[in-house]
């Protein structure tokens, strides 16, 4: 027992000493931000890393993260190769590029955003709207939410801030690209994102987390505030290095009649854990959480979501699909929380897993917590291998075995991919899936949506 306590201390000390170093070099910050950081690191010091004895962490052991003596990542001038591969180019209204947690102005494209829209990094936002940030940052993703949020909060410096004013619509996506480069020592970055849409505003935001090779740790927190009637289409695409750790918390608050759609895809990282919580805090708010996990080898991915119905008359929909190959493991815990008074809640949750190998494991746990009596909540989960009947049907029409399996995987994921409006994201997912199956180019199915569209036109 004593040994364990010692380890815990050592684990925490890595990050506490990173904080001392960070605190000395962070430069001037408003007092409120300084105290927010302090509250984060204090909270982390108090609770430390979670253990598998805690229910919420039962299926994901973060000891490998806790044990690793991560240094704070710094910008090393690398990352342009990854930028070339993952940049949206002209398809983004604005693209903010962060390398190892640091905003890199010269790699970013700030674009010309209309009518008071802000998309930039935190120091710039502090200059122009400090009071607004003070009232928002750290208010949704509370340091008490979980130890990783607390840790992230301690290191807030270079985050991304997006603010769309009342009734302004942005059509093209705003792209937040977080690149981790290969370093000699394992490094940690704490990306922080704050998205604020005022009444009736609408926009599309894509968060990409990408890496080359090597072991590193990304600990991300995103806060999203949608005021009444605001609409956000939000993609999070995690394509970290195969040795990396990725932990993220996304916290959303929806006002009345607000609409939020999340498309969260996990392809990379050796171990990833995502907490995604949407609070419907106004009537007729509508939240949709779509997720795709496509992993293999010894990858592990844990998605915990909460659909929190705090007000009546809100619909919510959730669909998570997992494609697991090799010895990979997936965890899905989806909670639907209907608070007392949230009558006429209509919530539907589905989790499905396609197991491409006998060694892959899926743990799916829906949870309903309902304190109102006039609600409609359904949930379902299923998991199984590729259906051999379906594969034979395709082969009997001349489609080869590998292509048939690929088509089945593609079809399985299509419920998610086809709902993604940002073509760059959809294509990246489709190309990744084809690549994983080692298919020659002419067998890759990445034009299904455009094919169907063309057929409709004729």
């Amino acid at each position: 027992m004593k040994g364990q306590v010692m380890t815990q201390l050592a684990d925490k000390n890595t990050h506490l000493s990173n904080f001392s170093q960070f605190d000395q070099s962070a430069g001037h910050a408003p007092a409120w931000l300084d105290s927010l950081r302090r509250s984060g690191i204090d909270r982390f010091e108090q609770v430390g890393f979670p253990s598998t004895r805690e229910e919420r962490w039962r299926y994901t052991n973060v000891a490998p993260i806790a044990r690793m003596p991560f240094k704070l990542a710094h910008y090393d001038g690398q990352g342009t190769d990854l930028l070339d591969r993952y940049s949206f180019g002209d398809d983004a209204a604005s693209e903010l590029v962060f390398v190892n947690g640091h905003f890199v102005q010269q790699l970013s494209k700030l674009g010309r955003l209309s009518r008071g829209v802000f998309a930039g990094h935190l120091p710039d936002a502090l200059d122009s709207r400090s009071a607004q940030l003070e009232g928002s940052l750290g208010r949704l993703a509370n340091v008490e939410a979980n130890p990783f949020v607390a840790l992230n909060t301690g290191f807030i410096r270079d985050g991304a801030v997006i603010h769309i004013p009342r009734n302004v619509e942005i059509e093209q996506p705003i792209h937040l690209l977080f690149i981790s480069t290969t370093s000699r020592e394992p490094a940690v970055s704490h990306p922080r994102v704050l998205i604020m849409l005022e009444e009736g505003a609408s926009g599309t935001v894509v968060e990409s987390y990408v890496g080359g090779r090597g072991l590193y740790f990304t600990n991300a927190v995103t806060e999203i505030s949608l005021e009444d009637r605001a609409q956000l289409d939000h993609c999070k695409l995690q394509q970290e290095s195969g040795e990396a750790f990725h932990v993220s918390t996304t916290q959303i608050r929806l006002g009345a009649d607000a609409r939020y759609v999340s498309h969260a895809a996990t392809l990379g990282a050796k171990l990833s854990r995502n907490d995604l919580n949407a609070v419907m805090a106004g009537q007729h708010a509508d939240a949709t959480l779509n997720g795709l996990v496509f992993i293999g080898g010894e990858q592990h991915c844990d998605n915990h979501t909460i659909l929190d119905h705090a007000e009546p008359n809100c619909p919510s929909h959730e669909l998570y699909k997992h494609v697991l190959d090799g010895k990979s493991s997936g965890v899905f815990k989806g909670k639907i929380l209907v608070r007392s008074g949230a009558q006429k809640t209509d919530s539907k949750q589905t989790s499905k897993a396609l197991l491409l190998s006998d060694d892959a494991v899926m743990n799916s746990m829906p949870a309903l917590e309902i304190y109102a009596d006039d609600v409609k909540c359904t949930h379902g989960s299923s998991s199984g291998p590729v259906d051999e009947e379906q594969v034979f049907y395709l082969r009997q029409r001349g489609v080869g075995l590998e292509a048939a399996r690929h088509l089945m995987t593609y079809a399985f994921a299509a419920d998610i991919t086809r709902r993604i409006k940002v073509e760059r994201v959809r294509r990246r997912l489709e190309e990744y899936m084809a690549l994983q199956h080692g298919l020659p180019l002419d067998l890759r199915i990445n034009d299904l949506a455009s094919h169907d569209e063309a057929v409709k036109q004729l």
Partner: protein, 260 residues
């Protein structure tokens, strides 16, 4: 003019591919020439559907004896997809639903797999549409079919219609129709059967597997076989099918006992 049969089955044995799997085909002999329509009739469990599946290359069955030559080559050496590319088409008794992939995309992939095998260039979407338009009319199909996921939410009749539509598009050399009439109402049966019959040519052949005679009123067979207990018991012309229609299969059993 070649004299080589299109399909030549000799003493074919097959069982369910599982430990202790039941033997289903017990010495089938059958020769089909180009230009012919054959019907295999038999009651449930006679092995007639299994024969169609074995010919299509279904791995759920294991061939334990005999030989099958198709266009002069050893059919049993070929994988299911190779057989399809060589022109063998199975119209499924129970067409499979595949959510997430549209019928048109799947069919284009299938057509192009065959074209590639023949060394022909891929069909582009527009050419593909032109190819399928007429076939859709032939089967009285609504164009919205093409954008629906393969068989997903289709009624039994729609699924069967979709099978014969695909058959028309794929234009096979040897079509195996497995219980295509089951689950069809009278009008749909007529459309589907006439559609299939219109695909008869001198250089292809159709093998119709059916329990009932009614389908054969539209696709009139040249040769009718009756299968019982994994073997072809008797062979005749369409009069044999008519006899089944009026008398059922009891007389077949009696005759089998007399022979036995």
């Amino acid at each position: 003019m070649t004299t080589q049969p299109l399909l030549e089955i000799k003493d074919l044995y097959a069982r369910v591919a599982a430990p202790g799997g039941r033997e289903i085909l017990k010495g089938v002999n059958l020769t089909i020439n180009a230009g012919e329509v054959h019907a295999i009739m038999g009651k449930n469990g006679s092995g007639k559907s299994t024969l169609a599946q074995v010919l299509a290359g279904r791995e759920a069955y294991e061939v334990t004896g005999g030989s099958v030559r198709y266009k002069g080559q050893d059919l049993l050496e070929l994988s299911a997809e190779e057989r399809a590319r060589e022109g063998i088409f199975l119209a499924f008794q129970y067409p499979v639903e595949i959510p997430g992939v549209s019928t048109s995309y799947f069919l284009k992939a299938a057509v192009n797999a065959v074209r590639k095998h023949r060394g022909e260039p891929d069909l582009q979407t527009k050419d593909f549409i032109n190819l399928v338009k007429d076939k859709m009319k032939l089967l009285h199909m609504d164009p919205s079919f093409m954008n629906r996921a393969i068989n997903e939410g289709f009624s039994g009749g729609e699924k069967k219609r979709n099978e014969i539509f695909q058959m028309a598009v794929m234009n096979p050399t040897l079509a195996l129709m497995d219980e295509t009439d089951s689950g069809l109402d009278v009008d749909a049966l007529k459309t589907v059967a006439e559609g299939a019959a219109s695909l008869r040519r001198d250089d292809n052949a159709i093998l119709v597997v059916t329990h009932y005679e009614r389908l054969l009123q539209y696709i009139v067979p040249d040769i009718v076989h009756i299968m019982l207990d994994g073997k072809i018991l008797m062979t005749g012309d369409k009069a044999l099918a008519a006899k089944v229609d009026t008398q059922g299969y009891d007389w077949v059993d009696r005759q089998a006992r007399q022979v036995g």
